[in-house]
Symmetry: C2
Subunit: 219 residues, 2 copies
DNA sequence: CAAATTTGTTAGATTGTTCTAACTTATTAC
DNA sequence: GTAATAAGTTAGAACAATCTAACAAATTTG
């Protein structure tokens, strides 16, 4: 069984995996806020337990076993976030830290009951998909708001970044998942986007913000 | 801030404290399933952080700071047990292990919300008192069923032992907190006690079991 | 392509938590 | 009240997870 530390490494590798599923030691070290030698030695030990494939000077790759393990930790994290928001009255900007701790709890029943009480959700409070209990996850292909054209009507569906600061920014603009937005215009000089939505006839969103808002385009 | 390991030592010291509030190293080691040298060295380090008073060859004593810290961990444990039983459909025999893990979560809001959702309970699913958020705990003085006399009517109120095996034994006899029992007789030769309660006109309980059942005597 | 930069590795130390073996102090029993 | 037993301590080692300093490989850049 993986220690909490090992679980954190697996999760980081899972989240940092690109198309090839490869992760650099420096990105891993960075993501976990540890030194490169620390990441390096941990990767060697993960390899011994068959969680990753690793060769000197090559990027790290999760094995199928490692991928599944990581997905199940992500599952526990996202179920927990949903539970905290839907059942315990937390704001979506408050759940990350607690979920980082609760994801390491070993109790299938605890998470199965959350799942059941939530009606088997497929996304977390930030729109990220929740892997199923086999570690499989549906990939969604959403469009960043930054890529939308004036005149388009879209629905806010997910976020690419869920930092507390960004979530509080969205709160202050009354932007939550599900909101219908109409793209009014886009400023050519700074790529900011002007949108309109219920109770907010005109709202300007910076390029930085609009890149992080994922939308589904309506007819 | 205490590590999870330190929190476990504080909790063990709290639970093992007798009237004098003193705990032997060997009892501590035993309770935590570690060797005596391990317990010894940990106690020395707890002393450095002012959680305990300790002198060579003397029993360990929690400082007021240590007592409060320990009580707050016990609070988190017992609130969690109550939450799992009342809100998440766990049986009272299933909650201990999970609560042992969740008690180390650092999130005042998480436990405050449990408390609120439960209506500020004062006892856990096994009848043990829940310390308040200042670490204060009401002491109840219940009578063990083993000390009751034939003819007495009592109400099952708490347990001195909450092992899964004992709880499953109680489940099999349909004995739960709140049940009204009438003491029918007591066998002189083995101190077993015969009781009667709804749907169980005659049930014999061994001395071992009846010592662990705490009751409130009804008029 | 050679120099500069970035990335990755090794060596060695540190901290926390644990152990066993050997020894000492305290307690119990005759 | 000494001898046997129990309880407690010290010393020394091990493992996990971390660090810094120094060095090596790979990549980027002029």
């Amino acid at each position: 069984m993986a220690s909490s530390t090992e679980e954190n490494y697996l999760k980081a590798l899972y989240n940092l995996s690109n198309g090839q599923g490869e992760v650099n030691i420096s990105d891993l070290a960075n993501g976990l806020k540890v030194s490169m030698p620390t990441a390096n030695s941990m990767v060697k030990s993960l390899q011994k337990s068959d969680w990753v494939i690793y060769e000197k000077y090559k990027p790290v790759i999760l094995t199928p076993k490692g991928q599944k393990e990581a997905a199940l930790i992500v599952r526990k994290h996202r179920l927990t976030e949903m539970f905290l928001v839907k059942k315990m009255g937390f704001g979506w900007e408050e759940v990350h830290e607690v979920a980082e701790q609760i994801e390491h709890i070993h109790s299938p029943k605890f998470f199965d009951r959350m799942d059941e009480m939530l009606g088997y959700p497929t996304i977390d409070p930030h729109g990220s998909p929740i892997p199923d209990n086999q570690g499989r996850m549906k990939e969604f292909s959403y469009t960043p708001l930054s890529a939308c054209k004036p005149g388009q009507e879209v629905q806010l569906t997910a976020l690419t970044n869920s930092s507390a600061e960004f979530l509080e920014f969205l709160n202050s603009r009354k932007l939550s998942l599900g909101v219908h937005l109409k793209v009014i215009s886009r400023e050519a000089y700074d790529q900011s986007i002007v949108v309109s939505y219920p109770d907010h006839p005109i709202e300007t969103l910076s390029e930085k913000a609009s890149e992080r808002l994922l939308v589904r385009i309506l007819e």
